[in-house]
């Protein structure tokens, strides 16, 4: 299935990744920006559209594969990661991307999410997190903030939201990142990193639902305030933020504290290491949130472990070497036969 000559010769445009179907998200939906960013990033790479498969479950975001010119499978609610797992095992040459939402991935699909990450399935998982069920018209999701008023919680929700990043880290994800649909260059950069990661690449994209949860991420991702309310993680650099980069995050026991760099004294800004293998620092970072702390965005963790399909096919190769060429006739006969004449 390799098309090496084509791969080397051809350069792509974002349009090459669009199949011409009219996109049917609500006007102003954050999904448009994500679709454009993915198509832009894929066009920069050498892999042709037919060597990608986009898999999704059910929800607004899950229509995504239907707009791509790649192979695609819009499956059933919550199960996209399981579908992707079989697909990647059967067809390891395909690069598999998965589009999911907060309900699809973390509620009905929570179990598959945990297990796909712990197995390090080689799938790029883009979670569109708008903290609401959109396609069913406005019920709370597992990421909705405590107290949020909506159709199924007219008196406010009484559930603590799950942190997708923290859950992904706990499940052992080898690549974990966060970006936003209104931060286009950053999103493209994170997607590039995810695309090049071998193994599970999990990207939480803070996404705006203009109809049912408009401006849900505005308090920290608003264009005017974000320098004070976000902190961009860069590997090997101190974790600094603020309008004039006047603030820093400092490790304080088992948590972070924010200090003014001018008055930091003995406190050294934490120099971010995305390869830190235990995931402890990434987990501590994942707990930071608005309004007490800036919201960390960027790559939280990037480590290299063998992917599931690699281990699976390596086992098959080993079994082939140990057993020789498979002989079906011999297998059917089993250890003992007798002949009737």
């Amino acid at each position: 299935m390799s098309n090496e000559t084509e791969v080397v010769a051809k350069k792509f445009t974002p349009q090459d990744f669009h199949n011409g179907t009219v996109v049917r998200w609500c006007p102003g939906c954050g999904d448009y920006a994500i679709l454009a960013a993915v198509q832009k990033v894929l066009a920069e790479r050498e892999r042709p559209p037919h060597m990608y498969t986009f898999v999704s479950g059910i929800g607004c975001s899950s229509r995504f594969p239907l707009y791509m010119s790649t192979y695609g499978f819009h499956s059933i609610h919550g199960r996209a990661l399981a579908v992707a797992t079989g697909l990647k095992a059967a067809n390891p040459e395909q690069e598999v991307w998965l589009i999911t939402g907060d309900g699809d991935c973390l509620s009905i699909g929570g179990n598959h999410f945990i297990h796909a990450l712990r197995r390090n399935q080689d799938v790029k998982i883009l979670l569109f997190n708008n903290e609401i069920y959109g396609l069913t018209k406005g019920q709370y999701s597992p990421t909705s903030q405590m107290g949020m008023i909506n159709k199924t919680a007219p008196y406010g929700t009484i559930e603590e939201p799950v942190s997708p990043i923290r859950l992904a880290l706990a499940a052992g994800a080898t690549f974990v990142a966060r970006t936003s649909d209104n931060d286009l260059n950053h999103m493209a950069e994170v997607l590039r990193r995810a695309a090049d990661h071998k193994g599970s690449a999990f990207v939480e994209i803070l996404q705006n639902c203009v109809i049912f949860n408009d401006k849900v991420h505005e308090d920290y991702y608003g264009v005017k305030t974000r320098k004070d309310t976000l902190v961009y993680l860069h590997h090997g650099e101190p974790v600094l933020y603020g309008k004039t980069v006047e603030k820093a995050l400092v490790v304080d026991g088992f948590k972070f504290k924010s200090v003014e760099t001018a008055h930091a004294g003995a406190d050294k800004p934490y120099v971010f290491d995305e390869h830190e293998d235990t995931g402890s620092i990434a987990s501590m970072l994942s707990k930071l949130g608005h309004p007490d702390f800036p919201v960390p965005v960027g790559v939280f963790r990037s480590v290299v472990h063998p992917a599931y399909h690699e281990l699976m096919h390596a086992q098959i190769d080993t079994a082939r070497q140990a057993n020789g060429e498979p002989d079906l006739g011999k297998l059917l006969k089993g250890p003992k036969t007798w002949v009737v004449k």
């Binding site: 498969t53 192979y71 697909l87 059917l332 007798w338 009737v340």
Partner: protein, 622 residues
């Protein structure tokens, strides 16, 4: 009471060998007593000798229930004969009971006058108390209808294996082989093949264990011989088999081999997504060892992931197979419908077990038929194939895979606990005789339509991701023939009709029905399906021999139904369907053909006996 007390030497009556047509032995003991090993060793010896055999293990759901209790009893039933047999036997001729619990549980299965062989050590005060025996049945005369042979198996085994250096608990463990020796003598089996087998299995790793087991068998055999334990011993001659090469095989193993054969012959990988569940898990065990045949086994996090990953694999170009039992199939139904809607190959193995919810996990039933037919949302046609015997599981599984690909559809494969664990001699098929896989239609990029239809089969093309020019986006949403989402009413009508027409077309794959007994019509037609084949056919043959007008057909396809079925049904005055459920096929046939069909239903977690079927058929024939 005719207790042959083995302790009394000097029984000088002359030994007498009696010829029998068939014998049923049931080995029963505590889970740790090794009765499955004893049973399979006797089975191997019998098949090598040339008997026809049919076996069925019966083990508890609990892994290690308390020793000495009824719940902890594990058993192995073996029917061997000099003629073609199809069931593990109605009534037991010889019951081997290693303790009081085993006797209590299985005594009702023993025919009057049958032999009871017991280990006295299993009948101490504690053992009797655990199963509420007020007095020792070996001594209180309650077994006077049977021939009781009570031996000191435990101490004699320990003494016999001493030269091997094995002592204590490990020595005691050899008592199943000691017992095997006794039974070998009783039924005039040569012991040498078994001794060779033990040497082969243990000699390298555990030579002392091998020696101990051999000593135990020989001691049991010699004891029975020397002290003339049985006044009469028995002999069952060779059976007549069709010429060919045979092996002994269980239904689950045959199913697994069918999957491996599909991978091998199709040239495509098989992706086998499964989650452990009794009584289906053996298939996953077996295939996990057969990776080099191109079978990708995946132990999923749950039943839904097992089937969904299989559907994804089929999209990726492999043959997706998922495997479970009833509770798991219930969880899979939404994802099976995804394969119905996207028209991808998928094989769903349901090894049926007893009861709703957890029910009777280790017992058999065939009560998932209507779930297989109708247990999904909306109109969701899928073909259903059900093997009739353990050996037939191979061919049925291979066909399920082949036709899933040929017709681009999920196929439901209904086995059951009885077929799964039952075993029989199986003529090993020749690899070159297996039918080829057919796919590759409609893949010219110039004319490719994701839901275009092969006129011969109604199947849509199977485009593998990675192929230039055939990119497609599948969805569970209704769509037009180009695969584009389409919610229009006429389009849904067209698409539904096409999905049904495709499955109906599969009737062309079904061979003509063979009618046994009264083939040209008559008073009673018996219709069976699945694992009840052997008992039903045997019963019909018996009733037919009595001169009654009775015919039998066995359905291996439950959907679509064979096109010649209605014509055959119309030729009989009465129709009856014996089933291990409350009448599901009977209900389906009546609904389909509007003909009166009566049901003979038994749900006791076990197979029909031939005797009860004969009685029922006779009662219908008046």
């Amino acid at each position: 009471m005719s207790t042959a007390d083995a302790g009394i030497m000097g029984n000088t009556e002359r030994l007498d060998v009696k010829e029998l047509d068939s014998v049923t032995i049931l080995f029963a003991g505590d889970s740790g007593d090794g009765m499955q090993v004893t049973g399979s060793q006797f089975t191997d010896a019998s098949v090598v000798f040339g008997n026809d055999i049919s076996t069925f293990p019966d083990f508890p759901a609990e892994i290690r229930a308390p020793a000495g209790t009824i719940n902890g009893v594990s058993a192995y039933q073996l029917h061997f004969s000099n003629h073609d047999i199809r069931t593990p036997g109605d009534a037991v001729d010889t019951l081997v009971a290693m303790n009081a619990a085993a006797l209590k549980k299985y005594l009702p299965e023993l025919r009057k006058g049958g032999i009871i062989l017991v280990d006295k050590a299993g009948f101490g005060p504690n053992e009797l108390k655990k199963v509420d025996y007020a007095s020792n049945p070996l001594e209180d005369g309650s077994l006077s209808d049977y021939r009781v042979v009570a031996l000191d198996i435990t101490p004699q085994t320990i003494a016999a294996v001493k030269p091997s250096g094995i002592t204590g608990r490990n020595a005691e463990r050899c008592k199943n082989f000691y017992t095997l020796g006794v039974v070998f003598y009783l039924y005039d089996r040569p012991v040498e093949p078994t001794l060779l087998e033990i040497k082969k299995r243990f000699a390298k790793k555990e030579p002392a264990i091998a020696e101990a087991n051999i000593l135990a068998i020989q001691a049991g055999y010699n004891l029975a011989h020397t002290i003339e334990l049985f006044r009469t011993t028995y002999r069952v001659k060779r059976s007549v088999f069709e010429p060919g090469e045979y092996r002994n095989i269980s239904g689950n193993l045959a199913t697994a081999l069918g999957v491996a054969a599909a991978a091998s012959k199709s040239g495509r990988k098989v992706f086998f997504g499964s989650y452990p569940i009794t009584p289906a898990t053996d298939i996953l065990h077996e295939l996990s060892r057969l990776k080099h045949f191109g079978v990708l086994t995946f132990q999923a996090e749950d039943e839904i992931a097992a089937v969904a990953s299989s559907v994804g694999a089929s999209y990726g170009g492999a043959i997706g197979v998922t495997c479970s039992s009833g509770p798991g199939i219930a969880l899979k139904s939404e994802a099976i419908n995804l394969a119905v809607m996207t028209e991808l190959p998928l094989v769903v193995i349901d090894v049926q077990r007893g009861g709703p919810s957890t029910g009777l996990p280790t017992k058999t039933e065939q009560a998932d038929l209507l779930m297989a037919l109708f247990g999904r949302n909306s109109d969701s046609p899928i073909p259903i194939i059900a093997p009739a015997t353990p050996g037939e599981c191979f061919q049925a599984m291979y066909e399920a895979c082949r036709l899933a690909v040929k017709y681009m559809t999920p196929v439901m494969y209904l086995s059951d606990g009885y077929l799964a664990n039952g075993a029989e001699p199986w003529m090993v098929p020749k690899v070159e005789d297996l039918k080829p896989f057919e796919f590759g239609w409609g893949l010219d990029p110039a004319t490719y339509k994701p839901y275009g239809r092969n006129p011969a089969t109604g199947a849509r093309p199977w485009a593998v991701p990675g192929t230039p020019g055939l990119d497609n986006r599948l969805t569970g949403i209704e769509k037009d023939s180009q695969g584009r989402i389409n919610y229009e009413s006429d389009n849904h009508q067209r698409a539904t009709t096409e999905r049904f027409a495709k499955i109906a077309k599969m009737a062309q794959e079904i061979p003509p029905i063979q009618v046994a007994g009264a083939a040209d019509g008559g008073d009673l037609l018996v219709i069976s399906w699945g694992g009840t084949y052997g008992a039903t056919l045997t019963a019909v043959e018996a009733v037919h021999k009595m001169g009654k007008s009775i015919g039998h057909i066995h359905l291996r396809w439950l959907n679509p139904l064979p096109s010649d079925l209605l014509g055959i049904m119309k030729k009989y005055k009465k129709i009856v369907v014996p089933e291990i459920n409350v009448g599901q096929l009977a209900y389906h046939l009546q609904g389909t053909y509007a003909l009166p069909v009566s049901s003979y239903s038994r749900v006791r977690g076990k197979a029909f006996t031939v005797g009860e079927l004969v009685t029922h058929f006779n009662s219908l024939l008046g």
